[in-house]
């Protein structure tokens, strides 16, 4: 059997994990102040085992600034690319992604409503924004897909993208309206809408990790169903897939992943579009390989994008969303052009 059809061997997983850890350490070491790798490893190791940290090492930069930020960036990358890969399989559309479908804008609207109306969850900072972002991501996805299906039963690329664009414009007009009437909360809303993972803390990373473990398990356990759905919804039904149940499972899990990422770092566009597409070219469309490879690819891509944002114009910082959108829009045009040309 061709090796592309089998799941990865454990050695491949180990290699991907080691590469991701290597990039993570590189991103912790590099920045406006470069820290030697040995110092970074010593600080992290000693902190993990409760040992004292030698004097002169940049403890606070590593533990309080860079590590929580890089962890949050990596987890966002994993979450966004996993949800993108799942949605592209579910909709049989290589251009499906939280940002192109308008789901990220829906999640932003939910989070801003929570901030503007002071919705909170006791004990969890930004808990209200997080919950509302997840809820609105799901509702947006259901609305967009239902509307697209009513217009065009085949859920063609053009229809979905067009509705995604219209929905994004609608969500942004509501966001502008809320900002206009938000009074003293305008500062915190504006700060949040700028979208950045620069101020991420361990609580953000934990929220991302918990959502990823729960929703990632749902998506990864549906890899065979996603293969069937990627070939065709009717065919999936004929071979025994419970299509409605699987669709709902994937939509809820993807929305939750996008929602939590938006609530932590604002809208980081195109990661879910670019990474699954690149990964599919490398490992093929079989979701048993594609999903896991996309997860590692997403983490590495977003960590490197964040690093580029920090060092390219240092001491100025380019927002991570700007870098991903610059790369993503170029890839979007490439995919769109080739999809149209192939017809």
């Amino acid at each position: 059997m061709d090796r592309r059809k089998r799941p990865f061997r454990w050695t491949a997983y180990a290699l991907m994990l080691l590469s991701t850890i290597a990039i993570l350490l590189l991103c912790v070491c590099m920045g406006s102040v470069n820290i030697p790798l040995a110092d970074t490893l010593t600080v992290i190791w000693n902190t993990l085992w409760g040992r004292p940290i030698p004097q002169g090492m940049s403890r606070s930069i590593i533990l309080l600034v860079r590590l929580p930020r890089v962890l949050s960036v990596a987890l966002c990358g994993v979450s966004l690319s996993l949800s993108g890969a799942a949605m592209q399989g579910l909709l049989r559309n290589p251009l499906a992604d939280g940002s192109t479908l308008g789901v990220s804008s829906g999640a932003s609207l939910g989070a801003i409503l929570a901030i503007a109306f002071g919705l909170t969850i006791p004990g969890v900072s930004y808990g209200g924004a997080m919950a509302m972002a997840m809820l609105f991501a799901f509702l947006s996805l259901v609305f967009i897909l239902t509307f697209a299906y009513r217009l065009d039963h085949s859920l063609a690329t053009n229809t979905i993208i067009l509705i995604g664009v219209i929905f994004t414009m609608f969500a942004h007009s509501i966001i502008s309206l809320i900002i206009t009437f938000s009074g003293d909360k305008v500062k915190s809303i504006m700060f949040w809408t700028m979208g950045s993972l620069a101020g991420s803390n361990y609580q953000n990373a934990l929220a991302l990790l918990i959502t990823l473990v729960l929703c990632g398990a749902l998506i990864l356990s549906s890899s065979r169903e996603l293969n069937a759905l990627a070939i065709g919804e009717d065919n999936a039904r004929y071979i025994g897939v419970d299509v409605k149940r699987v669709k709902l499972r994937i939509l809820i899990a993807s929305s939750a992943l996008i929602g939590v990422c938006v609530s932590v770092g604002g809208t980081i566009g195109f990661v879910g579009l670019v990474i699954p597409h690149m990964t599919r070219m490398l490992v093929g469309p079989n979701h048993r390989r594609l999903l896991t490879a996309s997860m590692f690819g997403g983490a590495v891509f977003l960590m490197l994008a964040d690093l580029a944002g920090r060092v390219l114009l240092s001491p100025l910082e380019i927002p991570i969303g700007v870098i991903t959108s610059l790369i993503g829009s170029a890839v979007f045009v490439y995919i769109f052009y080739h999809t149209r040309k192939a017809r």
């Binding site: 059809k5 049989r92 290589p94 004929y238 071979i239 025994g240 897939v241 419970d242 299509v243 469309p285």
Partner: protein
């Protein structure tokens, strides 16, 4: 094996199929014929549970509406006339998906007989040499044969075919009908297919049903149903006379 009672399908205010009752026994191959818009595809899509319907469809005395999708897929396979694959899955990956309903346990890669059944299905349909080829590079006929292989890999007892030879050239049309005819000779197997070619229906079917504007106008033994008069009623033309005229061109 399959019993259909008072099957009615409505598309909005339009009645696509009205009060159709038939039963299919093991060893039978039921051919569904009729003019465009007669309700042929709607009939087989109702069996496949793809369209909402009134009436009862029972497989081995169990109402299909009470069976889970994977239970149905282990017994009944469906070959559609249209396929659109957007990603570069290989032929073997698509055929292997036919074993989806036979998966044993959550973590198992495939079922015990999976690889053998997939290999046999690829061999039967002549797709073994192309098993590693991307679906995006196949011709329409090769795509149809891949999905026919998926149906065989599914190892059902009843195959439902909606115009199975639509994209196939004459050689593969003949081969496909012969394959299904041979497949039915195994115990407890039957097939239902929508056909446009009345010659093929007469040559390969055991039973036939003629539909006209959603109503069943004839059902029973193949030769009796596909008679000159019945075909005249179903198609509004002398089908037999026309086919004989075409055949005469070869004899001249």
């Amino acid at each position: 094996m399959l019993s259909i009672q008072n099957l009615t399908v409505n598309h909005g205010t339009l009645t696509a199929l009205s009060d159709v009752s038939v039963s299919i026994q093991a060893g039978q191959w039921l051919m569904i014929a009729g003019a465009n818009g007669a309700g042929k595809s709607t009939f087989v899509h109702a069996i496949a549970q793809s369209v909402p319907y009134q009436g009862v469809i029972r497989y081995q005395r169990r109402d299909l509406k009470t069976m889970r999708p994977n239970e149905i897929a282990r017994e009944i396979a469906f070959l559609s006339q249209r396929h659109q694959v957007n990603y570069a899955f290989t032929v073997e990956e698509v055929v292997t998906l036919g074993r989806f309903a036979h998966r044993q346990g959550f973590f198992s890669a495939t079922d015990s007989q999976g690889e053998r059944k997939v290999h046999a299905a690829l061999e039967m349909t002549g797709m073994l040499a192309l098993k590693d080829q991307s679906m995006l590079t196949l011709s329409g006929g090769e795509v149809q044969r891949t999905f026919l292989a998926q149906v065989f890999a599914q190892d059902p007892n009843l195959i439902i075919l909606d115009e199975p030879t639509n994209h196939l050239d004459l050689k593969y049309q003949k081969q496909t009908f012969e394959l299904i005819q041979e497949w039915i000779t195994q115990p407890n197997r039957a097939a239902v297919s929508v056909v446009h070619d009345i010659g093929m229906a007469r040559a390969f079917g055991t039973h036939a049903m003629l539909l006209e504007r959603g109503k069943m106008i004839a059902y029973g033994d193949n030769r009796t149903v596909l008679s000159r008069n019945n075909l005249m009623n179903a198609y509004g033309m002398d089908v037999e006379g026309w086919m004989r005229t075409i055949l005469a061109q070869w004899e001249a």
